[in-house]
Amino acid sequence: MNGWRELIRIENVTKRFGSTVAADHITLSIGEGEFFALLGPSGCGKTTLLRMLAGFETPDSGCIFLDGKDLTAVRPWKRPVNMMFQSYALFPHMNVYDNIAYGLRQEGLPAAEIDRRVRNALELIGLPDLAKRKPGSLSGGQKQRVALARAIVKQPRVLLLDEPLAALDRKLRVEMRLELKRLQSEVGIAFVFVTHDQEEALTMADRAAVMKDGRIMQVGTPEELYTRPANLYVAQFIGEANVIGGRLECIESEWLLRQDTHLFRVSGAEVRRHGLMQGSLAAIVVRPERMFIASASSVAERKDYNGLSARVIEIAYLGSAYNFVVQTDEGRRFFVQVQGAEGSPSYRVGDVVMVGWGVEQGILVPMDEFGNTNPPEGIANKLR
C-alpha cells in the first residue's frame, strides 16, 4: 500500500475475564483509511479488542495509541472513534433522523449544520425517505444502514464494526459487502471490521488479523494470508487446505518432507521463508484448486511435481467446478477442485487416478506440536 501511515497502535495489550484470556499480548498497527478485518472463530476475543478500542473495556496491561496519543485512559465519549454495534443498538424511542443526529447534537453543532449532515448521511445510505420512521418499523438491512449512518456522521478517525453483516440474509450480506466497501472508500475513514467469516474478510479487507484464543496468529493482506500463511492454523482457517505433516529432510540439495514412509518434494523457497532446517517439523498445505487430477497412466514422474496414485471416493458438481475427494492406498485423503470444462467427469467414483501438485504450489508451514491432520477435518463436509 502506498502512503500507509499508522493511525492506531495496539501495544502488548492483555485483557482477562476471570480465567479467560480474551486478549493475550496483542500488538497491532492499523493504518489511516485502512479497511482492517479482525478474523477468528467465536470466542477468540474479537469483540473484546474492538471494545477496548471504543473504550468500553480497559486493558489489564498494554496501551492503545491513536495518532501517537495514548488512548488508554480516555473515556468512550471523548474518543474520536465510533462503533457500529452487532445488535445495531438504535435508540428505539427516537426516529431515524434523531438517531443519526444524536451524536452531532452532543457536539453542540449549530442546528443547520446538523440538519445538513444528517440529510447527507441519509442520502449516503440511500434512505432519505425514512427520516421520520422509528427503528422498530425498519427491516434488518435498513437498521443496519441507519446504524452505519449514525456512526459515520460523526466523521470519526476510526469506525469500529462488530459483525455488521452477521444478522442479514445471505443475498443482502453479499450486496452490503460491496456497499460497505464503497462507503469506506468514499468517506476515507479507517474501518476496523470484526467477522468470523473468512470470505467476508478476504473480499473486503485491505489487511486482516487472524486471531485465536486472544492471540494474533498472523496479520497480512488477504493474498498473503492465503498464499503465505505463517502457520497451520491460518492455512486452515483461510480457505480449504490439504495438509501433509512430517519432518523435513534435505537430500542432495533437494528439500523433502517425510510422512511415514513417503517423501514429498517441497519448495526450497518455502523452507527458507520460514527459516526451517533439516529435521524440522512442518506441514505442506495445498489448496484444492492447486491440485491436479489425471488418468492413472498419464503423468510421468517429474522433479517438479508430487504425484500419488489414488482412488476417487466422492465427486461433487458445483456448477463452475468439480470437487473430488480421493484416497490413496495408505489412507491419505485429498480434496481436489477442478475448474469448469477441464473437470469434465471422465472419472467416476472408484476410478484409480493420479493426483498431485506442482512443488511450487505446495505451501510450507512450520509446526511444533503435530497431530495427524490429514485429512483435515471437515473437508468431506465442505464438499456438499
Partner: protein, 277 residues
Amino acid sequence: MVSPILLLGPALTWLVIFLVFPLALIFVYSFLQRSPFGQIVFQPSLDNYLRLFNPTVLRVFLNSLRIAFIVTLLALLLGYPTAYFISSQPSRWKNTLLVLVILPFWTSYLIRTYAWIVLLNREGVLSRFLLGLGLIREPISFLYNDTAIVIGLLYGYLPFMVLPLYSSIERLSPELREASFDLGAPPLRTFWHITLPLTLRGIVTGAIFVFVPSLGNFFVPELLGGGQRFMIGNMINNQFLQARNWPYGSAMAFGVMAIVLALLFFQAWVTRRTEQV
C-alpha cells in the same frame, strides 16, 4: 372439550362476589340519603357528590393528594438509584437484593407502622440519637404530623416503586447506553436522553403503585398522624364507622376512584406512547 372461558370461572365468580357486587352497592348508596339514625333512605339525588366540594372535604382531598404526591416523588428519588444499583450487580446478587427489597412484606404493614411509632416518639430511637449527638436539648416527638405520615407511607410502599423500575431498567440493553457514550454523550446526558425515557413506563407504573395506595391509606395517618392529621382514607373510614353516613362515604370513595381512574388512563396513554418502541 372444556371451553377455555370456563377456566376463568372461579376467578370471575370471585371478582363478581367480592369486587363488582360491593362496588355496585356502594355506587347505588352514593346517590341515596342517610336517615337521622344512620339508616339508608331511598331518595336518589346528587347531594352527596355536591357535598364533596365543601371546603373542609376539599382541603382533606388536596392534602391527601399532596402527601401521596410527595411520597411518590420521594419513592421515585430513592427507588430509581436502588433499582439501578440492583440491576447493575452480577446476576447472582440480584435475586438476593430483590428478596431484601420485598422482605418487609413478610410482616404485616400495620405492625411495621407500630414499629415506626417506637422509632419516632419522644422516647424513641431517633430522638435519643439526636440527643446523644447534642443536636437537640430535650426529647422531641417526630410523630403526629405530615412528615411522620410521609415517612410511614414511603417506607411501606417503596418496594412497589423499586420492583417495576427494576424490571424496566433490567430490560434496557446495556448496548444502548454504550452507543450513547460512543456517540459522545457523557453518563449524565446518557441517563437523561436514553435511560430515563426508556424506563418511563417503569416510572409511571411504579408511581401509580405508590400513589394509589398512599392516597387511600387510612391506618398510617391514623397511627402516625395520631388522628390530628387527616387523609381521605380516614374520612371515608369515619363516614362508614363513626358518622354512619354510608351514602356520603360512598360518594367520597367514588371521588377517590375517579382520581385513580384518571391516573390509570394517563398510564395507558404513556404506555401506548412508548409502545412503538
